[in-house]
């Protein structure tokens, strides 16, 4: 398949009514980022684009579709949504299938094998440093690097791909989608990242003294403004009512003067921030697919991926389980083995 081939196939599917809408990427005003394209019109699908700028995880929009409240008497359109998925995104779909949140017939997956996407923030800051024309329309980014189009057709290389590549993609172990209906282009070779390389950063942090660790994390967590960006962008945070962002409810009975407990208060202070992030890490244990969206959405740059990779490492080393690889197996924390390691249990 090619880019044009896949587009004409989507158009055919839309015309015949086999899919209800298409979620993909299109070129927007930001040259470092392809914005999400959500449409059911044939004309708009022609604008779709596939490249190294396909940063966002579109599986979130599939979940959002389920959350729309419908008028009384109307039923949800049960036709599938066509959605573009990279390797990491396809694993998120697998987790949702595993947890029976969506059915396989709800999505038509257009797999996009990728050799890594760029980090828009890094690319933008490098461009500011190195560009000469000061014209953001004259940028071309491909998997060879970032180029500036000078006079005529001459191109000046501004950065290598390694410099602008997203951190999560440097340690990605699944470059090809694990579940798909169609592929945009042929499968690519896996990068052959080893587990040691993947967990190197976590290992380095684990070696620090407890005081240093606490100093580092308390610095990071005290920055948090609790915007819930990480929760709102996460493809796996699908709960209708999030326990981490719940107001205290007044008791229903009028003579009861107590407030119903909320396990994590919404009030922004350091203690609640740490509790929020610990709870979120626990909720993502054995589920996080490391799509890196939380870290990209974070306005204060908390290294959330480091926290979730630590949990992922623990799960892998203790239970040999990797999230999102198979939609048929049970989630790791929803099952057990009588011979699980219990060296942490004392007495």
């Amino acid at each position: 398949m090619s880019k044009e081939g896949i587009k004409s196939e989507i158009i055919d599917l839309l015309k015949s009514g086999k899919i209800k809408s298409f979620v993909g990427y299109e070129k927007g005003t930001n040259p470092f980022f392809l914005r999400p394209l959500i449409t059911s019109s044939v004309e708009e699908v022609k604008k779709a684009d596939f490249s190294v700028l396909c940063v966002s995880n579109l599986v979130r929009y599939v979940i959002d579709d389920f959350k729309i409240a419908l008028p009384r008497g109307k039923t949800r359109d049960s036709r599938p949504i066509a959605v573009v998925v990279k390797g990491c995104d396809s694993r998120a779909v697998n987790v949702l299938l595993q947890e029976h949140i969506i059915k396989r017939s709800d999505v038509f997956l257009i797999g996009m094998p990728c050799n890594g996407v760029i980090d828009p923030k890094a690319a933008e800051s490098l461009w500011y440093e190195r560009n000469k024309t000061h014209d953001p329309t004259k940028i071309r980014i491909s998997n060879e690097g970032m180029f500036e189009i000078a006079d005529g057709k001459e191109e000046i290389k501004l950065a290598d791909f390694d410099e602008i590549e997203s951190e999560k993609c440097k340690v990605c172990m699944h470059n090809n989608p694990v579940i798909y209906d169609e592929l945009v282009w042929d499968k690519v070779d896996d990068k052959k990242v080893t587990r040691g390389e993947r967990y190197k950063k976590v290992d380095d942090y684990e070696k620090l003294d407890p005081e240093k660790k606490w100093l580092f994390w308390s610095d990071e967590f005290s920055k948090c403004i609790r915007c819930y960006g990480c929760k709102n962008i996460c493809p796996l945070c699908y709960c209708e009512e999030c326990t981490l962002a719940k107001d205290k409810e007044k008791a229903v009975l009028p003579n009861e003067k107590i407030w119903k407990t909320s396990w994590i208060d919404k009030e922004v202070n350091f203690s609640n921030n740490v509790a929020y992030h610990m709870n979120r890490a626990m909720h993502l244990a054995g589920r996080c697919v490391d799509c890196g969206e939380c870290e990209r959405a974070c306005p204060v740059d908390i290294p959330l991926r480091l926290l979730y990779t630590k949990v992922e490492k623990d799960i892998y080393e203790r239970y040999g389980y990797e999230s999102g690889m198979d939609s048929e197996v049970k989630p790791v924390l929803a099952t057990f083995d009588i011979n699980d390691k219990e060296e942490f249990i004392e007495g």
């Binding site: 684990e206 580092f216 994590i264």
Partner: protein, 150 residues
């Protein structure tokens, strides 16, 4: 007047004693703690027991909430694997708390403050031992101020 102020002064001079929240499972550990009391086994009065029906019922946020509300140590105790009243509740809990223990350590929160143990209904002595050990550890560390709410 003097007498009252003297009493108040004495109350404030009291040495610091740790507060330990113990989540005990209804069928084994709670009965174990009961046995410790009935058998008149001495254990520190620092422990505040919360009875839960099973360790599998415990959400990891209970532990975090306890620390937030000023607990100096948290103990989670349940039936030995294979003895659970609900067949498998403690086995789910074991997986859950293995991850939480790793997370606590990774964030640099004093790991010694959190303890998980298996205490059966016949192990009154073991319950006393576990509580004594946790109290000693927490006493060495002093009051918990990392997660405490202002």
């Amino acid at each position: 007047m003097n007498v009252i102020t003297n009493v108040e002064e004495k109350a404030t001079e009291k040495v610091w004693e740790p507060k330990i929240i113990a989540f005990l499972c209804n069928w084994c550990s709670y009965a174990g703690a009961d046995l410790a009391g009935v058998s008149r086994i001495q254990y520190p009065p620092t422990v505040r027991v919360i009875r839960v029906m099973c360790t599998g019922r415990m959400n990891p946020s209970f532990v975090i909430k306890a620390f937030q509300n000023g607990a100096d140590g948290v103990l989670v105790a349940g039936c030995h694997p294979g003895d659970c009243h609900y067949i498998q509740g403690n086995l789910y809990a074991r997986r859950r708390y293995s991850i939480l223990a790793g997370l606590i350590e990774f964030l640099g929160i004093e790991r010694e403050r959190f303890m998980m143990s298996w205490v059966s209904a016949s192990e009154g002595g073991k319950f006393a031992k576990v509580v004594t050990e946790l109290t000693d550890r927490v006493k060495k560390l002093g009051p918990q101020n990392q997660l405490r709410r202002p």
